[in-house]
């Protein structure tokens, strides 16, 4: 069975999708880190963390959706290049953890607005999303653990 993915018929499709992926990540991770910086006592100190989270909610969600869908399309261009790549496993582990953390612990901490609280939560959030970025870059630099084309 051979189904040609239309993404592989154009040289430009992959890099253009990557551009969407990067813009989506800049919006989503940027807005999440904006709130994290506030929890750490940096940035827009005149506003409460909960106010910032409320105002960025839809931009974070929109950025995540753009990032997720462009990412799924990138993945579809050569799934075997990805799921056999340790960096991809690493990225997915931290991506799923990041999403779950963001909409559970992070969300509750931000909404409580406890003075001085949430520094650890902010550090974990920044750390998780940084690891997602590092994993993403390393996908291009690590070889797959197994070459499916030679089996």
């Amino acid at each position: 069975m051979l189904i040609e993915n239309p993404l592989n018929s154009s040289e430009l499709a992959f890099p253009i999708l990557e551009c969407f992926h990067i813009v989506g990540f800049a919006i989503s991770v940027g807005t999440i880190w904006l709130v994290d910086f506030r929890l750490l006592g940096f940035g827009m100190l005149r506003e409460s963390p909960s106010q910032l989270a409320k105002d960025t909610f839809f931009w974070t969600l929109g950025g995540l959706i753009l990032m997720l869908f462009s990412g799924l399309m990138l993945f579809s261009s050569g799934p075997e290049d990805y799921y056999l790549n340790y960096a991809f496993d690493f990225k997915m582990l931290f991506f799923v953890s990041g999403i779950i953390f963001n909409y559970t612990v992070h969300r509750r901490t931000v909404q409580s607005d406890a003075p001085g609280g949430g520094k650890l939560v902010a550090c974990i959030s920044i750390g998780l999303w940084s690891l997602v970025i590092f994993g993403g870059i390393f996908i291009g630099f690590l070889n797959s653990t197994l070459d499916i084309h030679h089996i």
């Binding site: 040289e11 800049a26 827009m44 100190l45 940084s130």
Partner: protein
């Protein structure tokens, strides 16, 4: 000294050679470069969206601009340093790359944007709060900034996919018996294909 020779001399510096040849230093620097896009890029997009009235509308413009100013500068410095290391360590490959050239040109427009709009918009954000509606000049600044800052990472990504017409290029220098053979390493797209066709274990 011609541009190819100069490029080769730059990437032959000890630090640049080390970055290019070490397995993981290059991607570590690139990841840091990308992480700074999260901080700096995300914050700049938010500032622009606030000026346009599309995001953070409950928060005064001055709070957004003053609160994020330092962090955008810190992010920019780290991002620029990392980008400088990435670019100079692969200078042979980059100097003739049209996407790289476009990216450098866009960085010049960033400076022009700052010269044009900084005194009116970014230095006195309190004035923007008092205005009944966000003044046109602030919106123009935001739109220009959005376009430039979305184009820059896109050009950055495209750099990796440009395939030069010739893979090998030999330079000879006058009065010098040696010939500098400039090895142009494969682009990311070529590497992807190579990886698929090789045994996959590098």
């Amino acid at each position: 000294m011609t541009i190819p020779e100069l490029s080769h001399a730059i990437q032959s510096l000890g630090l640049m050679t080390y970055i290019r040849e070490s397995g993981y230093t290059y991607p570590m620097i690139m990841s840091t470069h990308l992480a700074c896009i999260g901080v700096f890029g995300g914050f700049i997009l938010l500032t622009d969206l606030r000026l346009l009235g599309w995001a953070l509308t409950d928060i005064p413009i001055s709070t957004v601009i003053n609160g994020l100013r330092v962090w955008k500068r810190v992010g920019f410095c780290i991002m620029f340093t990392m980008g400088f290391l990435l670019g100079t360590s692969e200078m042979d490959k980059y100097y003739a790359n049209p996407y790289f050239q476009t990216k450098m040109l866009l960085l010049v427009t960033v400076a022009v944007h700052a010269i044009v709009f900084k005194p009116q918009v970014y230095d006195h954000p309190e004035w923007l709060d008092k205005a009944p509606r966000t003044p046109g000049v602030a919106k123009v600044a935001a739109i220009c900034s959005l376009l430039i800052w979305i184009a820059i990472p896109c050009m950055g990504r495209m750099i990796a996919y440009y395939e030069p017409p010739k893979a090998q290029q030999v330079l000879s220098t006058e009065g010098d018996a040696r010939n500098y053979s400039v090895h142009v390493s494969p682009t990311e797209a070529q590497e992807r294909r190579l990886r698929i066709s090789s045994d996959g274990r590098g």
